[in-house]
């Protein structure tokens, strides 16, 4: 009796402390898992906000370089303007059109002087994220007009992350040039207005924006991106109309060489 009592007591005690030890162990593992999850989420945020820009900028610059089009001459304010810049004759008749290329094929570049003199980003066919918007930058809505066509040349791009080609879209003001370059033609559009719409508002990329079903008569451009930044709640939309075009063999539009 006296010999058994401590044993029973000892068993109970060891069982009790064992349960507490298991409980502590589980708590410890759960805590470590949560710390690990926190580090994982932090790493994801760093990747999304920083690394996709590093990779995207590099990839989009490489795509523009691979097109091997004549680089835009940069004119210093101090240097005298070249003679060729003054000789550019803007055309306002029907510009040469190109057919829609295959999915994910880069067919143009976009130059927006408001976003910096060295801003030139590739425009590729399609607007899905995995094939076009994430790896290639700006995408062209399939089925909408091509550059210079009567109708609406509608394109989309990231405003944040993945090289953020449309990061400064809110700075565009009416009259700002938006220049599209294809292999043979410069198309110079000018901003006519901006609006913020719901993601489902597909009428903004209709041939006549806001009036789906109406036959177009003008040559328009529309840019869509997310709004507000880091959110997908709304879309920021910029509309523009074709001002003039010139063949690439004729030189450069004065808008992008700093002439005007």
């Amino acid at each position: 009796m006296t010999a058994q009592a401590p044993t029973t007591h000892g068993r109970r005690a060891s069982a009790g402390s064992g349960g507490r030890r298991i409980g502590l162990h589980v708590t410890g593992v759960v805590g470590e898992l949560m710390v690990t999850l926190g580090a994982f989420l932090l790493a994801f945020v760093a990747w999304q906000l920083w690394w996709t820009d590093v990779v995207g900028d590099r990839a989009q610059a490489a795509i523009v370089e691979r097109l091997d089009w004549v680089p835009v001459p940069r004119i210093d304010a101090a240097a005298p303007p070249p003679v060729a810049a003054a000789a550019v004759v803007p055309h306002r008749d029907a510009p040469p059109a190109i057919a829609e290329p295959a999915h994910a094929v880069t067919f143009a570049t976009l130059l927006v002087p408001r976003w910096g003199a060295d801003y030139e980003r590739p425009v590729s066919q399609g607007v899905d994220r995995v094939d076009v918007l994430d790896p290639l930058g700006i995408g062209h809505y399939p089925g909408t007009a091509m550059p210079g066509d009567v109708g609406n040349f509608a394109i989309s791009g990231h405003r944040t992350t993945y090289g953020k080609p449309f990061n400064r879209i809110a700075e565009l003001a009416d009259g700002d040039p938006i220049v599209v370059r294809t292999a043979d033609t410069w198309y110079v559009y000018r901003v006519t207005g901006t609006e913020i719409v719901k993601p489902a508002d597909i009428a903004v990329i209709a041939p006549v924006p806001g009036q789906p079903g109406t036959a177009p008569t003008e040559r328009l451009i529309t840019l869509t991106t997310c709004n507000p930044m880091y959110s997908a709640r709304e879309r920021f939309v910029v509309h523009g109309a074709l001002d003039y075009w010139i063949p690439t063999t004729a030189g450069f539009p004065p808008e992008i060489t700093g002439g005007t």
Binding site: G28, V29, E32, L33, F40, A43, F44, W47, Q48, W51, T52, V127, D128, R129, V130, L133, D134, G139, Y141, S156, G157, H158, R159, T160, T161, Y162, F166, V197, P199, A200, D201, I202, V204, I205, T224, T225, C226, Y230, S231, A232, R235, V237
Partner: protein, 53 residues
Amino acid sequence: MYGWLWRHLPGSAWLRVGLLTIAAAALLGACFLWVFPAIAPLMPFNNTTVGGQ
């Protein structure tokens, strides 16, 4: 979890720290290269198109 890892790694404390650093770097690299690109399209932000893309 990490205690178990620490106890089962061979060598001195410095060697273990080195091994764990290399393992953590490799894990982060794998996340950057494959895991994050795979889960990013599923995130509910970053959509830029109209019409339910």
